[in-house]
Symmetry: C3
Subunit: 677 residues, 3 copies
């Protein structure tokens, strides 16, 4: 069994902005004590340190970082070292104006903020390679170094400078070869948009959807290209040190499915909005979705590189975590595949935009705070379950989540444009599995092998590549169960509508053809009957014709099918014609999983608000309710946290957690524990 | 009796973007069949075809359009040919940068979208004249051509380029001759705004209301001037072909009353928001208002150049039309004076911003759709009532709707600035006539001859030209009934306040003087008593002094008049001091019409939600209710659609229509039918 | 006893834009009559007259102003003469482009509006000095002139032109001397923001809070500097004429505490939003707060330079004043320390942005209006109480209101960012005193001597200067009662967080340390028990540790203190951990004032909605209720308005006022009256 990254068990760590405290050595001393007390075994350093590392062009200052490495190393902690490109120093913008981004109106953005660079700029890439080379040469062989953390939270904010535009036009030439092909793909006959030279193309015409979609693809590709340029000296000089970059939540203009193929270890920054309503289940489902997306990128464990030990400071209202929630939220990450619990940040900054973002050590400077106690408790807990590190989860069900289709759908002008809610819809389908205790991957239509699964859901897959349609056909043919919904397969990769019925190229697989996608006004009530009861639909409702499929249900008013099923080859293709209420969605997938042999990971009943996830041998039982909740396993388990067998009922406190393994392995389990340091 | 345009009866047609389908000849073939099946007799072509027609400067490509003309002609359809200026090709922007608009901040707008040209640019006007000349020369004598469709949906989006500013300053010199006169008109003593050279004038100072109003007038005038420049080669080369341009709904910065005087046939694009609430009556009243405005421009039948056969794709939520609504909405246009029912568009585009705007032939590509069936049914219906083409409606009542006053009111800073709602107020007054089955024109205070009417309503005519005041005085003097409301006659043509009491220059006609225009806060209840019951007022309530008028009602709390009437000469002038609730407005005009001898077009009772409009001999009965509604004519009519006499009660289905003519002409009617092809 | 400015008693006046009516001499004649009728004794002239005074560079035109001076002087009115810098003429912008402001994106703003000048521009300052010199030379010795009104409503809208940036960088050099000091103060180690040259600093990086705060300070300082440059010729040529400038409500980007130190007489423009809800008390409390702020700037009477005699025209909805409200609102100003009631403006303009802002003489042009009658009644009333002019109010309680801390808090990114509501919170605390009839100053933490007070409240004093912390410590030490709240003392003057517990540098004084500032979500109910009942808290709730303080109350759910008190030296320091509901706040201060010997100014009970303010000997009783309200003084008073003794109960009409003096001084009182001119 794998022991995770560098055989360290589960990581427990934080961003450490050591350089902010150089004038307070007594605080740095206290840090070392507190880190040990909190069970911290890894720190991410250097994330925004460029202006300290290279105070002016070519003048380097590594002594402080040397000191940081030595102190942490001697204190027993490992180091994740960042490259500093996430925020460039003012002298660089002053000297090389072209490193700043240009807005669509041609105005060069003034220096400021962070993520403020042109990702095409030759000068900026040179500067990054230079400083990354220095870092790799100096720290590449340091025994504390375990991982490169390249830049920070890349995003897809575009730059319209001449260098970017030139590279974009080259990218287009690669893709289309001729202007005729480009004009056809972008349907430029519409509104007289035909281009007769490459130079006429300027990526700010929102009425040419193909252009805007390609511009977003290019920006994402160019970000990956920039990342690879940053990695080049690291991979060359320190081939043994793996590379990550911390992904954000998936609404930042990057195709992380594609990006993921270029990193060694997936990591991401997790900031759920706990306590935004009395019911925390929706936030927990959403966090689970993002975790499972990260695990599904490479089908491997990942790192939770950042999370807040308390509240954030960049939301309208961010609640302090209620008692238990910190550990619950941390354990949830591990349950879904994270090999770490890491924080932004170790010590709260005295100044700057994030000075009121909670940290492990707050401005109070003490280990005698609620936050610190929960963090230290988390550290102890992670040690108890360290054998989980490196283990994986095999899912038989998956939900497809496609960044590019989401962009295309955002751009689309539809009969109903408000509450398109692509991501929300995907999470609604995912949530049905979450609640049923069935492990579910969140996958790419392009990169993921469909053969791993028995059931795949394609919610609102508006842009359906022709290749994907082929994969779906093959998947069902060979016995898979596919579920598609309204707004699936409307356009091809070029954002051109499929003619002759949707879902495009799949009408025979689903046995239906959509005549039109109707809208449901907010004042309207649209219902359908299934499982002996009446359900509601909202926002969208397709008018569908049966062409081989069977109607499982129909809309009350119009007698059109609401849900259909079609045998195709060895498998079955289901179609949900409308945005159904969550209770229906939950029921639908529970029935489907039973029918298609995808059992929950436990046989006992799962109360509302409780999440059950299996990873390796461990069964995580997580109570997202603000009240005590009882579960009744009905089998004998070993409780990994308390180290004793449990049977009969278990009383979970509010936001409580327990982690179980099958009890037959009593000896094996205690063996695990002896290993767990 | 006129047979309408080119003796064709009623037109049934659509925009036809033939050039988008050149690579799919089998679809073009099918189009011809489907058009015949749907009773399509006219197509509008070439609307955004510039980049195909002139692929680069001076290189023309007309073969495809020749083909289109031939095929349609042979298939029995007529053609409305567009000039392509609504969207210029990219090569034109690239070569002549000055053809792009400039924003107020001096930044030239990048090429993109549509309606993207400077209307002053000499280069652009030359290019338009060149292509229009080519079109006129090539197709001017083609037997299928019946009408020029110049450009598309002109609007008043301003351009601030040096050429526009120079022409604007010339326009000002024409209007004011001296800077002193301009300074006086614009009241530039306020805030030290006095101009001492023409070059100081820049039309972006929103604190000089006179300047902004003149800038809007100029932009509208310059748009008309551009239109006339486009028309010049057409009128010269094809003097026999009439000219239209499709107007939009009246919130686009153009004075359509003025524009209308320059076109041969009025046409407009009608996109009501059906089913936005459970009650469709408000949308129907609004559509009626716009139709009647179009009929009133020239007091002639018009064309409904565009409408959607289904939903649109540029609103937040656009509902598919419920069963019956398409025909109802189409018939409504004819009832109010349209000689056509036309669609955007014939075949749904595969790409581009409007690809999900419904079309007669959807992406499904079939005639076997609900949309196609309703369109074909509309085609059959239009044939049955083709004798209506060219007939007109004479109204004895009118509501004044003044674009320029609306602009001035929008700019005005009042004690109450939210919910000024000029257009909404005009529609509320118009709605009283609509519901009573009384035909009502929607007229210009400048161009319309008031003598046609017995009753004219001037709702919120904030800017009252001195000439208009004279016309109103004369109208009442000679026996007319005039109704004015709060916020009428506050300023003159220069946006200068009338001193000594409002309505300006008309206090003796109305026999009142407004001391102040009070505001009603949202939490306040203001009521008045009339017709033996209590009514509510909202938003605005004038404090009025009687100076000859009689108070018909007073506000409960303050004993000021709420409604007044004043005999003046042979007529009567009424004043509504507040924004009254709709039920009062409806009652008020019903009583007024009775008093002033303006009868409804039918004598029987009209149920709520049912619209009765008379055009020529035909009485249109239109049920905008979503439920069956019974009417009881109590006279014998001939049903034009069913071709049989009706008497007693008629059961109108939801969204149902019937068209009646007086039964005495039974033989005459069947004669009509034999003519109707 | 002082007789106020120039021994004139209370001033009653208005802005008089004489130059707008030069072509209507009959109206100017009528003005003189109406002014006398309304008891107007002062007019503010010349406020936006530059384009008339200097029609082109160096060409002056003073005849009209000479005439205005003469006519008013002979009519018995005094003059407040404005300098015209509030709006520069178009020729000045045309000739000296650099006098226009530059936006952050480097675009020079086009001429237009008002307040449209760069306050650093050398050319603009020269032009101002030139015209001010001319005005001082010509009118400085005119017997009618009593006061300079410099410019108009200065605000802190920034300019980013090169001149401003250069002066800003000099300002920074003065403040920080070295870049190292600046980098430390701004915490530029965060996000790699370190500056290595002064030229790198551009004040548009909102992620550097210290930079943005300094930029706001600079803009405020530079406005004062501009004001002083304007004053220089006035002070030199007319040393005997005092100077004011009309302040606005305190949300315009200026530190009026600092500005106040440079004017001779405070004046401000008061535009309460009466009748925005059925309950006028909140608006009355807010107006009282602003008045008391103005009185507290210099602890002297002030002038209410502007108010509307009716409605304004720049709000969403501005109600006409209900009967009585005009006099009530005017008397409120005097009760809180104003020596004047002045209006914008005398005669309503015919054109321009404010043409529908109510004025004493409306467009009707008559003295026979409700507005005029209320103004004239106000004039008579002011004469009756003219002895009040120059008298002052001594408060024993004060609320600290710090502009700079407000800016810092606005910039701050907190766990809860919505509804920070700094000003609203200060007004909530102030309101408790207002309702209790206890006079309360609104003071600066920097400039005000704390020794004047027994009780000082520091609501949400987020930025706590180290000097202020010392003052608070000393204040409590010597026996004062201090109240601080959540979000007090989080950062120092550089916006750097206090380490080791908040309120920063004051934990020992308050005997507490805040562990963390929690947020309360909108759906949460947080309560605490005190005075035998349960109260609610919202938005923010500190988690506090007792370190010497006593908990007066604790939160129900978590047992943390909600209210604490700590003896320190001779005094007591209270801490309110949460935003408490208003009823609690009212009760808390009522109890505190009783405990600390701060009695209300009357001993009898004050009904809700009634404000009692004492100024000199006079007790103002003001009924802000829309219904009759009874007060029962239980002592014998003389009624200054009716000139007769009152005892027992007094019936105040809706929006009614009475002004009482202690009855024992019956003779003295009538003596006052004979003096009152």
């Amino acid at each position: 069994m794998s022991r995770g990254l560098y055989n360290m068990g589960l990581l427990h760590g934080a961003d450490y902005n050591y350089e902010q405290w150089l004038d307070s050595p007594e605080l740095l001393d206290r840090d070392l004590l507190y880190m040990r007390e909190a069970g911290i075994n890894v720190l991410a350093v250097g994330i925004f340190s460029w202006s300290i590392l290279e105070s002016t062009e070519g003048v380097y200052n590594f002594e402080w970082l040397d000191g940081c490495f030595e102190r942490l190393h001697q204190n027993g902690q490992k180091i994740i070292l960042a490259t500093p490109s996430g925020s460039k120093p003012a002298w660089l913008s002053e000297k090389y104006g072209e490193t700043c981004r240009m807005a669509a109106n041609g105005v060069r953005q003034p220096h400021g903020g962070r993520h403020n660079h042109c990702r095409t700029s030759v000068k900026y890439r040179e500067a990054c390679v230079r400083i990354n080379t220095k870092l790799a040469e100096r720290y590449g062989t340091h025994p504390a170094l375990i991982l490169w953390h390249v830049s920070n939270e890349y995003n897809g904010m575009p730059c319209y400078c001449p260098q970017c535009l030139a590279v974009f036009r080259d990218w287009l030439k690669d893709r289309y070869v001729t202007l005729d092909a480009l004009n056809a793909a972008w349907y430029t006959t519409f509104w007289s948009h035909r281009f007769t030279s490459w130079e006429q193309i300027f990526p700010a015409d929102h009425s040419i959807h193909g252009l805007m979609l390609d511009w977003q693809r290019f920006t994402s590709d160019q970000t990956i290209d920039f990342f690879l340029a940053e990695c080049e000296p690291l991979r060359r000089i320190t081939p043994g040190v793996p590379i990550t970059t911390n992904f954000q939540m998936p609404d930042v203009g990057l195709d992380f499915h594609k990006f993921a193929r270029h990193v060694d270890i997936i990591s991401w920054d997790n900031y759920p909005e706990w306590h935004r309503s009395p019911d925390d289940e929706p936030a927990a489902v959403k966090a689970g979705f993002f975790h499972d997306l990260c695990r599904s990128y490479l089908h491997k464990p990942f790192l939770m590189m950042e999370s807040s030990p308390g509240a954030t400071n960049w939301q309208g209202v961010s609640s302090k975590k209620k008692k238990g929630m910190h550990i619950l939220s941390s354990v949830q990450a591990v349950a879904h595949g994270s090999d770490s619990v890491q924080y932004f940040q170790w010590r709260q900054s005295r100044g700057g935009e994030e000075k009121f973002h909670d940290a492990v050590i707050t401005h109070l400077g003490s280990n005698d705070t609620g936050i610190f106690r929960e963090v230290a408790e988390t550290g102890r807990l992670l040690k108890k379950i360290s054998t989980i590190a490196g283990t994986n989860t095999e899912s038989r069900a998956a939900v497809v989540y496609d960044f590019q289709s989401g962009w295309a759908l955002d751009n689309a002008q539809l009969p109903r444009n408000i509450e398109k809610n692509y991501q929300k819809e995907c999470i609604a389908h995912y949530g049905a599995f979450w609640k049923a205790g069935i492990s579910c991957d969140v996958i790419s239509p392009e990169y993921t092998d469909f053969d791993r699964y028995k059931l795949i859901v394609f919610p609102m897959l508006y842009m359906l590549r022709e290749e994907t349609a082929k994969k779906i056909r093959m998947f069902v043919q060979k016995g898979g169960a596919a579920v598609a919904t309204f707004l699936t397969g409307l356009v091809n990769e070029s954002d051109l509508c499929y003619l002759g019925g949707t879902p495009g190229n799949l009408t025979c697989v689903f046995g239906i053809s959509v005549e039109e996608t109707g809208t449901i006004a907010d004042w309207e009530t649209v219902t359908f009957q299934m499982y002996g009861q009446q359900w509601k639909a909202a926002h969208y409702a397709d008018h569908v014709r049966l062409q081989g499929a069977q109607a499982l249900s129909g809309f009350a008013a119009e007698k059109n099918p609401a849900v259909t099923a079609c045998k195709f080859g060895e498998g079955t293709a289901y179609y949900l014609c409308a945005r159904t209420e969550q209770a229906f969605t939950d029921r639908f997938y529970r029935e489907l999983c039973e029918k298609h042999g995808i059992p929950p990971c436990v046989s006992w009943e799962i109360p509302a608000g409780v999440s059950i996830q299996k990873r390796g041998d461990a069964i995580f039982v997580m109570n997202f309710n603000s009240v005590e909740t009882v579960i009744s396993p009905g089998e004998i388990y070993e409780d990994m946290l308390r180290g004793e067998p449990v049977c009969g009922t278990i009383l979970l406190p509010p936001y409580g957690v327990c982690i179980l393994v099958k009890s037959s392995s009593g000896e094996k389990k205690s063996e695990h524990q002896s290993n767990s340091k």
